[in-house]
């Protein structure tokens, strides 16, 4: 009896490792592929049979795409502009600013909801509609409205939309952290004569600091990788990295996989670092208070 039980346990362990490892391969292979392609010479991008390892590995794609270094480009695939660096700057400014606004005002709203019920439970759920309605249904009027008020093709215009569309996540996620702060702290502050605003900014928000950082990074993931709104609102003056990457698609020179891969790796790596830092908080961000930890 004991033998069969331990035997069965060993079988389930093996099955578990096999299933998990197969999925790990499926999950990781495309990521491996784009990383390895970014180190390949242009003759290996599209070769048959495919090169599973870059041999020899080269930095030419990175040097060419990110720094416009033409001496590293062996062929006609040279990209000589500094555009990706400018897009990197735009992406950083837009993502960081909109995320900051979203978390700042989101946490204030969340504080109000948690302590003063400024939004009813029904309103809190209605807030989610901002996120759940597909953005495609408003981009055309948004673009015309932005043209009319001069915000089209500006960083501020994109910041404003991202601020609006990520606010529901910011409110819900920061609220789940603020709810955990005991009321006694605020009562003590009030008795000691702190104003309401001081209580929020100098007592409650510092107490949930790590939660705010987690929320910030979580929303940064969303704003960093956004595509549709950026595609519509930015035209020529301001481009973000995902839009810059999509410009390499269907270019007349044909397939420039290595260059695309070098750009893609540069876009994705910051996102992965951020995501892995907050991996413990991801469930909270996505689940709107439905999952407790």
């Amino acid at each position: 009896m004991a033998m069969t039980k331990s035997h069965r346990r060993r079988v389930t362990t093996v099955v578990r490792y096999v299933v998990l490892s197969v999925w790990a391969l499926i999950a990781f292979f495309p990521i491996y592929w784009i990383i390895s392609t970014s180190f390949k010479l242009d003759t290996q991008w599209f070769a048959w049979p495919p090169y599973y390892f870059p041999s020899p590995p080269t930095l030419a794609n990175y040097m060419n795409v990110w720094f416009g270094a033409e001496e590293y480009a062996q062929t006609q695939y040279a990209i000589s502009s500094q555009k990706p660096l400018i897009s990197l700057y735009n992406s950083t400014v837009i993502a960081v600013t909109s995320t900051f606004l979203s978390v700042l005002f989101g946490s204030m709203i969340a504080y109000g909801v948690s302590r003063y019920r400024i939004l009813s439970e029904a309103r809190m759920f209605q807030l989610l509609m901002l996120r759940m309605i597909p953005p495609i249904v408003v981009v055309a009027p948004l673009s015309l409205y932005y043209t009319a008020i001069g915000l089209i093709d500006t960083r501020f215009g994109l910041i404003l939309v991202y601020f609006l569309t990520t606010l529901p996540y910011a409110v819900w996620m920061t609220k789940s952290f603020i709810d955990e702060v005991p009321l006694e702290v605020e009562q003590a502050a009030e008795i000691l004569g702190a104003s309401r605003w001081r209580t929020v900014f100098e007592i409650v928000l510092p107490l949930v600091c790590s939660g705010l950082v987690a929320t910030f990074l979580f929303i940064l993931i969303l704003t960093w990788s956004e595509y549709l709104l950026a595609l519509i609102i930015t035209k020529t003056q301001v481009t973000t990295l995902p839009i810059e990457l999509s410009k390499y698609q269907g270019s007349t020179e044909g397939r420039v996989y290595g260059r695309q891969a070098a750009l893609a790796v540069g876009i994705t790596v910051p996102l992965m670092i951020v995501g892995l830092i907050i991996r413990k908080h991801l469930a909270r961000g996505f689940s709107f208070g439905m999952v407790r930890r």
């Binding site: 999950a27 759920f125 309605i133 495609i136 009027p141 992965m272 991801l282």
Partner: protein
């Protein structure tokens, strides 16, 4: 119980004027917390929605001069959209895509979460690898797919080598496969989402009911279906609903990879609206289409929100009870 109510009750007896001014101060404070949200609604969301309504009843394309004196056409545009077979196909494609990918994400996410619900050696590493696909930019996913899925590309080559059978579907060029290709990409991309939520749900459910069922001699199968699944219902619902809504809105991968083609095989709702508005420049038709889709989505979302609210309430009640028990013990 709010701070205001609590401290008002505990505050030393004060004159009515002080109470009134305090109440006024609280109202002002509440309003100023809400101010940014109200401003965003008034200056961004409302004008956009009004413009969209305007365009859906006025015939205007970019070739027709200034948009503010376009012809009023009443509900003609809605009629045009609703009788457009392409629109109908787009609705069907979107629904099929969203249902299929949601189901796929859920099945794989649940399976992985179930296998990882108890700690084991290497768990942290698997967790990190499993969430990586979610942390890629959608456009990057599309281009990676293009680099891997062409007919003599690495994926087909790898499968041929491993299985020894010639495996050569053309994922990108075959109209019968294209929508499924995007669906598989969506599953690859977002299974981590279902996985994370289901894992959090599985580790959060109380152990007592399961142990009780084990003591009563229930089989693993029965424990799974009759104890764990009912306890997980809110989380399951959340994973399904959110994924479905996001999949209905999926645009970057579909567009970057296919632009609606081959033929019209991947012309989902977002793609069709995008093409109508930005390639055919039929702004008004696009607006009417958007309006219909928005109404459809609002109905779905309200239904989903109702479900989620109910589940959240029952969940809160359950946790309150277990918290009470912990306090008593």
């Amino acid at each position: 119980m709010t701070v205001a109510a609590l401290s008002a009750a505990e505050a030393p007896p004060s004159t009515p004027t002080r109470v009134v001014s305090r109440r006024r101060a609280i109202r002002r404070f509440r309003l100023s917390l809400l101010a940014p949200l109200i401003a965003l609604f008034a200056f961004v969301l409302m004008p956009v929605l009004l413009l969209q309504l305007y365009f859906s009843v006025h015939q205007w394309t970019v070739y027709l001069g200034s948009w503010w004196d376009a012809d009023y056409v009443g509900l003609d545009l809605f009629k045009e959209v609703l009788t457009d077979p392409r629109f109908g196909w787009a609705v069907l494609r979107s629904l099929a895509f969203a249902t299929g990918s949601t189901f796929g994400c859920f099945v794989f996410g649940f399976l992985l979460a179930y296998l990882m619900r108890k700690p084991f050696r290497g768990q942290a590493l698997y967790y990190i690898i499993f969430i990586l696909p979610m942390l890629t930019v959608p456009v990057v996913v599309a281009y990676t797919a293009e680099m891997m899925l062409y007919q003599s590309g690495p994926l087909n080559d790898l499968i041929t080598r491993l299985s020894g059978i010639e495996f050569k579907p053309s994922w990108l060029a075959n109209p019968d496969l294209a929508l499924m290709t995007v669906g598989l990409l969506e599953i690859w991309n977002w299974t981590p989402f279902s996985f994370i939520i289901m894992l959090a749900g599985l580790t959060a459910i109380p152990k007592e009911p399961i142990e009780a069922a084990e003591i009563l001699g229930a089989s693993k199968w029965r424990i799974f279906w009759e104890v764990q699944v009912p306890l997980l219902r809110p989380v399951i619902l959340l994973a399904l609903v959110l994924r479905f809504l996001e999949a209905m809105a999926e645009f970057p991968k579909t567009w970057a990879l296919f632009q609606g083609g081959p033929g019209s095989a991947t012309e989902t709702l977002p793609v069709y609206i995008f093409m109508t508005t930005w390639q055919y420049f039929e702004i008004s038709k696009g607006a009417a289409m958007s309006y219909i889709v928005m109404l459809l989505m609002i109905v779905i979302v309200l239904f989903a929100i109702q479900l989620l609210r109910q589940e959240k309430r029952s969940l809160d009640k359950m946790y309150e009870q277990t918290d009470d028990k912990k306090v008593e013990a």
